[in-house]
């Protein structure tokens, strides 16, 4: 701010001298007073432009640098307000089968090595399989029961390891190391063996960290701004002890800090579990979606540079890690939000990682023609009753399929719909209204035409359109320069929603990240 004022004054003085000079030379000519006024206006205009441009070119500092305890206000973004927000009530639903799906863990060699066979009885926390590239990282059973199927997909890759849950749950007893006195190596080994290591995601690329990796920092977002998102304050209720323990464990795993992104929007104060967490640094974020995305928060705290690795975890994963120490068992319990307008009773259901979607939603779906999404509506994955909840999702969303024609839909829409554009008068008049949505694309795919649209919903110092074009062109160097390593699919999901040309931006970004990964 000081800098801007200084620049302004400096320029004004320079202009004053310059115009004074010219005036002196043309002294005596009539109308010099009006000329002076014109010069003043000209000077002001120029100054305005110069400040605009110089601020963005030279003066602008690189992103990041938010300090512990500060609040970051984000201007760009958009809140999509939908019907079907999960009510804060418990929905009774019990999953019978659970599955661990190798494909959701990225960065592993494609076909894992099984440690159990079909028919085996496992306890919760028993290893099911490991990746051939990292045998020490175990993927464990979320519940106890019988392994009833190992399903394979294309190229014989294992896609699902299905467990029929016991009525009485049994857990493998763990002996955690002494947190204060054990070495980092011991701690890492314990986490890998207990199955918690697989819940950590490493950026760039959202992969399971390799054994021995030490991240620069660890980031946890404690609020979710996505449409219909679960309220993490509610989710974490009563789990404060395990959460704090989880943070203590994570703090031992990095040489940097553990950062919590707190909800600074002011609608509801962050839960005391988050706000009074110890041994971590906290930054509040204020703004519309995607302010709650951990990728956006990392960008404003300390962006990922080339060669750096950071870890991110979901709140419930931290609780699971903490429970390894407080309960001495792998507790895969999850509070999962049932949301969406096609959901009869929205709310939260108590279940475990990998629960069967059909079991959780049975009898709770309004229509016939619906889409079930594991995760949020912008970045989740399409699934169905036979599918299983991803370990990284704490939400199931059910919305209407939009496979219907609409007459002159581009000109006079027959029903209200969410939009970031200002061409829908109804949306402008009632800004807070909530919408019933479907999956129609509302138009056909086109080349990139409209500009500035992505920037207006992505609160990062990134030029998304140029990045996407660089990816499409396969220009690795440009991609890296434009910050592809700072992004993951969920961060550009809102851009994809807003895109007038209906481009598949998350797919493009994923392709780009895969290209980058091959280079590394």
């Amino acid at each position: 701010m000081k800098n801007t004022t200084l620049k302004f004054l400096l320029l004004l003085v320079t202009w004053g001298i310059a115009s004074g000079d010219i005036l002196a030379q043309s002294a005596g000519s009539s109308g010099s007073k009006s000329m002076y006024a014109l010069y003043a206006i000209g000077a002001l205009l120029l100054t305005g432009i110069w400040m605009q441009v110089s601020d963005k070119f030279a003066g602008k500092k690189s992103a990041g640098g938010a300090q512990d305890g500060s609040t970051v206000s984000l201007q760009q973004g958009h809140d999509i307000i939908l019907k079907g927000v999960p009510a804060k009530t418990q929905v009774a639903a019990q999953a019978k089968t659970y599955a661990v799906c190798p494909p959701v863990f990225k960065g592993l060699s494609p076909i894992p090595k099984m440690e159990v066979e079909v028919g085996a009885e496992v306890k919760a926390g028993d290893a099911l399989f490991h990746a051939k590239s990292a045998p020490s990282v175990k993927f464990v059973a979320p519940v106890s029961g019988e392994v009833i199927a190992i399903n394979r997909g294309a190229k014989r890759a294992i896609t699902e390891v299905v467990i029929l849950a016991d009525k009485e749950q049994q857990h493998r007893a763990l002996t955690p190391p002494q947190l204060n006195s054990c070495s980092r190596q011991e701690l890492q080994d314990f986490l890998m063996d207990s199955g918690a290591w697989a819940l950590i995601r490493q950026r760039p690329f959202q992969i399971v960290p390799a054994p021995g990796d030490v991240p620069r920092d660890i980031f946890i977002s404690t609020f979710d701004t996505a449409p219909l998102a679960p309220d993490l304050n509610h989710v974490v209720e009563g789990k404060g002890e395990a959460f704090q323990k989880g943070l203590d464990v994570l703090a031992r795993l990095t040489d940097g800090s553990v950062w919590l992104g707190l909800d600074g929007r002011g609608k509801s104060a962050p839960s005391a579990v988050f706000a009074q967490a110890k041994g971590v640094k906290k930054v509040s974020f204020k703004g519309k979606h995607p302010a709650g995305n951990v990728g956006v928060q990392i960008h404003h705290i300390n962006p990922i540079k080339s060669g750096e690795k950071v870890w991110t975890l979901n709140v419930q994963d931290v609780v699971t890690i903490g429970a390894l120490f407080t309960e001495k068992r792998f507790n895969a319990a999850r509070l999962v939000a049932l949301s969406g307008d096609e959901c009869k009773t929205t709310g939260y259901v108590s279940t475990h990682i990998g629960a069967n979607i059909g079991d959780l939603t049975t009898g709770n779906i309004k229509g016939e023609n619906v889409r079930i999404i594991s995760g949020d509506i912008l970045s989740g994955a399409t699934t169905n009753a036979a599918g299983f909840l991803s370990p990284f999702d704490d939400q199931i969303t059910i919305i209407e399929e939009g496979n219907d024609f609409e007459m002159f839909g581009w000109l006079a829409p027959s029903y209200a719909r969410p939009t970031v554009s200002r061409t829908y008068l109804g949306n402008l008049v009632a800004p807070g209204r909530s919408f019933h949505v479907n999956t129609n694309t509302h138009g056909e795919k086109r080349a990139f035409v409209v500009t500035g649209q992505y920037e207006s919903v992505l609160p990062m110092d990134v030029l998304p359109q140029h990045l996407f074009k660089a990816i499409l062109a396969g220009d690795i160097e440009q991609m890296e320069g434009l910050g592809i390593l700072e992004l993951s699919e969920e961060d550009v999901a809102l851009c994809e929603f807003a895109c007038t040309s209906k481009q598949s931006l998350q797919q493009i970004l994923q392709d780009g990240l895969e290209m980058m990964q091959e280079q590394m």
Binding site: Y39, I80, L378, L411, T441, L463, F497
Partner: protein
């Protein structure tokens, strides 16, 4: 209603294999009438209600007032030159009909030629018909002189669409603004039809060295029959002589010769503001253009950054010229430059074309400002042609990628620099 429409469309759907061209055409009209039942496959499960069709149609809507006024003014200027119906609303039906008779063929030819080529290329490339020409086709009639021969118009549109757009890959890929490219084609290939003092008022011809109204056409006579029945004034046969002191020169041409004084001898500033002067069809009325521009800004479709920086660029250069004052044109007060000529129209509808403008927000500031500067330099300093926005925008279209390159490099440098500082 929807079912009936769907049924109708499925009954006329041509065979895609037997007649692919017809099917492309069919698909174009189908998607126009019925938004397809496409659902999201990857990524975000819901999508914004905005699509390219809606974007384009809002731009077209924003220029409708210019169309209406352009039509009326074409008639008004014609009669004013002949000294008939001098009052604004005198003989309004004749003015409107004359404008319609002049404008309608231009609109039809521009669309038939442009869309025809678009359809053909869509069929050749095997993709759907894209909406880009909706806006270009609506803009072209507004930036042409009302008496432009239709063959020249057809040629210019064909040139712009084929060389300017399809050669680069179609909608979203062009480097130069398609509408302006068609105008610049006429400007360089047929300068006699788009510059000078004789082309801006419709329905006049030179007979024995003196100007007179043309004989009215069959279309005029057709309407005369109706007007006679209603007991209103009629066109008559035509061929009346122009009034004494008729010049036909635009304010630009006058200012180039004699500065602001010469302009005000013929036109008063309020007429120039309200658009009752000769010029291209749609660019004369400033309030209606401003309404269109505000509509585009309010809906967020056109970039306000480009518009504002263009205004700043013009004001800056205008002030500079005022201070310099070497020629009479330079001494024209800078604020009158807004109402003379087609600055506002270029600002609202031409420079803001997102495909050919800078695509970065910072770049837009530079892009618009430089158009303002260069356009006024061409307007004031160029001895041959006293209007600069077309050339300035095309010039900056070419430089827009360079501006973006600098901005993109700035972003990359910021990132690598902070990485280096960290290391």
């Amino acid at each position: 209603m929807k079912k009936a429409l769907l049924k109708f469309f499925s009954s006329i759907e041509p065979d895609k294999k037997k007649s692919p061209f017809l099917h492309t055409l069919y698909d174009g009209f189908f998607t126009f009438a019925l938004t397809p039942d496409h659902v999201t496959k990857t990524g975000a499960h819901i999508r914004d209600g905005m699509d390219l069709k809606r974007t384009m149609v809002f731009v077209v809507l924003a220029m409708q007032l210019c169309y209406l006024f352009g039509m009326y003014n074409t008639g008004h200027q014609h009669f004013a030159a002949l000294g008939q119906y001098v009052g604004l609303w005198d003989g309004w039906h004749l003015k409107l009909v004359h404008g319609l008779i002049k404008l309608l063929p231009i609109i039809i030819v521009a669309h038939v030629v442009g869309l025809g080529i678009e359809f053909y290329y869509a069929y050749k490339k095997g993709h759907g018909i894209e909406e880009g020409f909706l806006v270009s086709g609506a803009l072209i009639p507004l930036i042409m002189p009302p008496d432009l021969p239709l063959s020249i118009l057809a040629l210019s549109v064909a040139f712009a669409v084929i060389i300017g757009k399809e050669a680069f890959g179609g909608t979203g890929m062009n480097i130069l603004n398609v509408a302006l490219l068609s105008r610049v084609f006429v400007f360089f290939a047929y300068p006699g039809h788009i510059s000078g003092d004789e082309v801006w008022i419709s329905g006049l011809e030179k007979v024995n060295g003196a100007y007179a109204g043309e004989m009215y056409s069959w279309a005029h006579h057709l309407f005369d029959g109706i007007f006679k029945g209603l007991g209103w004034e009629t066109f008559g046969a035509g061929g009346a002589a122009v009034i004494d002191g008729y010049t036909g020169a635009t304010p630009m041409a006058l200012a180039a010769k004699g500065g602001w004084e010469a302009v005000t001898k013929v036109y008063n500033p309020s007429d120039m503001f309200w658009g009752l002067i000769p010029g291209s069809v749609g660019e004369t009325n400033k309030p209606f253009i401003i309404i269109g521009a505000l509509m585009l800004i309010a809906t967020g479709i056109a970039s306000w950054r480009i518009m504002v920086s263009m205004v700043l660029g013009l004001a800056f250069t205008g002030l500079l010229f005022n201070a310099w004052g070497a020629t009479p044109f330079m001494e024209v007060p800078w604020y009158y430059h807004f109402s003379m000529g087609s600055f506002l129209f270029a600002m609202a509808f031409m420079a803001t074309d997102p495909v050919t403008a800078s695509s970065t927000n910072v770049g837009k500031w530079v892009y618009g400002f430089l158009i303002g500067v260069i356009g006024l330099i061409v307007r004031v300093l160029n001895p041959a042609y006293p209007e600069g926005w077309m050339l300035a925008i095309l010039f900056m279209n070419v430089f827009a990628p360079l501006i973006d390159y600098v901005v993109v490099q700035g972003n990359i440098k910021r990132r690598t620099k902070s990485a280096a500082a960290k290391a």
